[in-house]
């Protein structure tokens, strides 16, 4: 597959193998009840759409708890992964409601800690800065990139990440 195709997410022809090693569960205890799956609480949908920050607050609290737990056990790969997962979820959600700055901070955190097996003093401090930056974005209800203050916050955070977490990267523009 060429790079252009990859970039454009081109349609790929699928060759179904002849050997069936895994069967879809249509019956039995693990079968899916499609009718039941078809139901969804629309009130919940509306509530989220109208007040995303309330849901984000819970995620931020979870992130703080994960950070606190990690700070006491910095070589625990599972705890790093847990923190990554929460940040990854925030990254995927916040921008959908217009909170692009929160998504950007979460993205920066994800890329900073991805594949890390242990966290040093400096790295821990920087992770804490991400949590703090998200808290400010929440407190200020910063939509989009948060205007000039949000831009300053993000550029500052990017700078310190480049300096501490990825010292070999070029400085941000």
């Amino acid at each position: 597959m060429s790079e252009d195709e990859l970039q454009e997410g081109a349609f790929e022809v699928i060759h179904v193998p002849d050997i069936i090693s895994e069967r879809v569960m249509l019956n039995g205890p693990n079968a899916v009840d499609v009718d039941a799956l078809d139901k969804m609480d629309m009130a919940f949908v509306e509530k989220i759409s109208n007040n995303y920050l309330a849901f984000f607050h819970d995620d931020l609290e979870a992130l703080k708890a994960a950070f606190s737990s990690l700070s006491e056990d910095r070589q625990n790969r599972e705890k790093i992964e847990h923190l990554y997962t929460i940040s990854h979820d925030i990254k995927g959600q916040a921008g959908s409601f217009g909170f692009d700055l929160i998504t950007a901070i979460a993205d920066l955190l994800c890329s900073s800690i991805e594949n890390m097996d242990a966290i040093g003093d400096k790295q821990l401090e920087i992770i804490g800065f991400h949590v703090e930056a998200m808290r400010i974005a929440e407190m200020k209800k910063m939509k989009g990139m948060g205007g000039p203050a949000g831009e300053k916050l993000f550029v500052g955070l990017q700078g310190v990440v480049s300096k501490v977490m990825r010292p070999n990267d070029p400085s941000p523009a």
Partner: protein, 176 residues
Amino acid sequence: MQDERSFRANRVLDILVAEDSPIIQAILLRFLSSLGHRVVTVENGREAVGAVGAKDFDIVLMDIRMPEMDGVAATRSIRRTPTDAALTPIIACSADSSREKVAQFLEAGMNACIDKPVDKAALLACIDRVLGKEIHEMLPGEDGEKSAAEDGAEHIDEDDSDVSAFLEKIATADGD
């Protein structure tokens, strides 16, 4: 996922959304349902495999990081199904769409990948491209434009003392 009134679909699709985040589930359900599509949601890859085997879907929107079975494993499993269900188009929805990851998704049998946060226009264009049909069109109406402008507006707080204090704090960090 804003500006819902500015799109419409000329055909109803049966769409499976495999996503463990209730928030992402909700916004995809709300958006796609508003276009008239019939949407089923499941929370993990194993349920997605079961749902595709039990019901015909026009397309699957597949999250990658899910409990029990991730989106890549679920896709592989669907592609091995001994029925036409194996051919169901699958779009990866991932917050990590690096070149390496996208290659992994396509190798597993996914047809395309879309970034999270999901951009509405990009999602619809991706669905149309994967299905090879022009199903969705944008309606640049007054309501839609107004909605987009309101939703996308940046909140600008004149008091940036918290940000200034934060910047002073992080300025003391160094890489030495």
